[in-house]
Symmetry: C2
Subunit: 209 residues, 2 copies
Amino acid sequence: MAEDAATDAASPDRVDPRVRRTRAAVLAAAAEVLASGGLGAFSLEAVAQRAEVARSTLYRHWSDREQLLVETVAEHGPMAEDPDTGRLRDDLIAAVGPFGAFLGEAPSRGMLLSMLAEAAHDPTVAAMQQRLTEQRRAVLRRLVDRALARGELPAGTDVEQLLDDLAAGVVHRAFVVGAPVDAAYLAGHVDRFLTIHGAGADAIGPRGA
Amino acid sequence: MAEDAATDAASPDRVDPRVRRTRAAVLAAAAEVLASGGLGAFSLEAVAQRAEVARSTLYRHWSDREQLLVETVAEHGPMAEDPDTGRLRDDLIAAVGPFGAFLGEAPSRGMLLSMLAEAAHDPTVAAMQQRLTEQRRAVLRRLVDRALARGELPAGTDVEQLLDDLAAGVVHRAFVVGAPVDAAYLAGHVDRFLTIHGAGADAIGPRGA
DNA sequence: TGCGAATGCGACGCTACCGTAGCGGAGTGA
DNA sequence: TCACTCCGCTACGGTAGCGTCGCATTCGCA
């Protein structure tokens, strides 16, 4: 399936540039379609047209609609970095920022919601969704663990609870309130939860404040 | 449209029991279809079959698919009571409990997610969704205001923030974690946020504890 | 320049669903 | 009982999307 190009020669990294181009264009187009029109608009016809690619070409790279949907969503999963500014607050803002901006916009929010909705009755999508969530969470957990080791947080801190609180606020704001997850919100949100979880006063607010 | 039966006679409440039965059966079936298969499975064919009703009958009560979808979702919106136990904690648990149980189950969770996904690119659904959310929020706001008047919460309490925190936790647990919003979770969640928001010690935990 | 692979194009049959229509039967209320 | 309303059934034309196929064309690479 996906390793067709990798098995035909001794150099597995060599991929026909046409293939690379086509796949990239299609996946980008698929994400756009999903974002703007939701699952209902996600037809191979629409994707092909947007990608300026023949519909038959899609079947040369993905076995069916489901396959393309899954891979499209998987592309837009991680969205988290692993900054190391030496200060938990700034690490969190740097890590969550891009992802928050992403799902704070209506189109991408629609895409993630479509995925969550699909996951509710499709084990394949649900498993992938679970995997992506854990992936993002792992990044944040690393940041928090480092801060804990530095003594920025009390020794008995419930890390999982902290991560839940952090994610809950962002998710609620994006999905329910429908407001942008911008820098100002994020800073306030992070500060609030650092306070709640007993971070020292010097760990909260803009650095040096 | 909907007031056909109401305008034909002097007694506006009288509705042909056959109509009442049919509408109820269809709306229930529609909710089931939406919950189990998501938006993709929400065809009039499927709804009619599940409701054990002729497809043509649907067109006698709803103008089109969209109409039926909106009314189906609107039926399952409020889900909030207005208990008055005299204690905020118990009020909140009583009010959120049924709704939490509803969206904690996979099928109904799927239904709400489908609606949210649709709302992301359909103004009609978005408006309705917004209305339902505010409706639920208003119930909770009333409880909190009462508690504030009773002195259960500090005078300067940020009520909207409290409501956000409450909703955020529930939404995150149901939609992202995918865990049931049961009584045990809810009690812990409410207690945590009452503590955070500075409620007196006697306002937290099981009554009398 | 020439070979092979990837793509474009158009067509095919198939399925599912939409929205409409008309007729006969059955339930409802006076 | 009788008129009226609602419903089941069947069929229709139309649209949209799926997945497949064969052939011509273009592109990448040696």
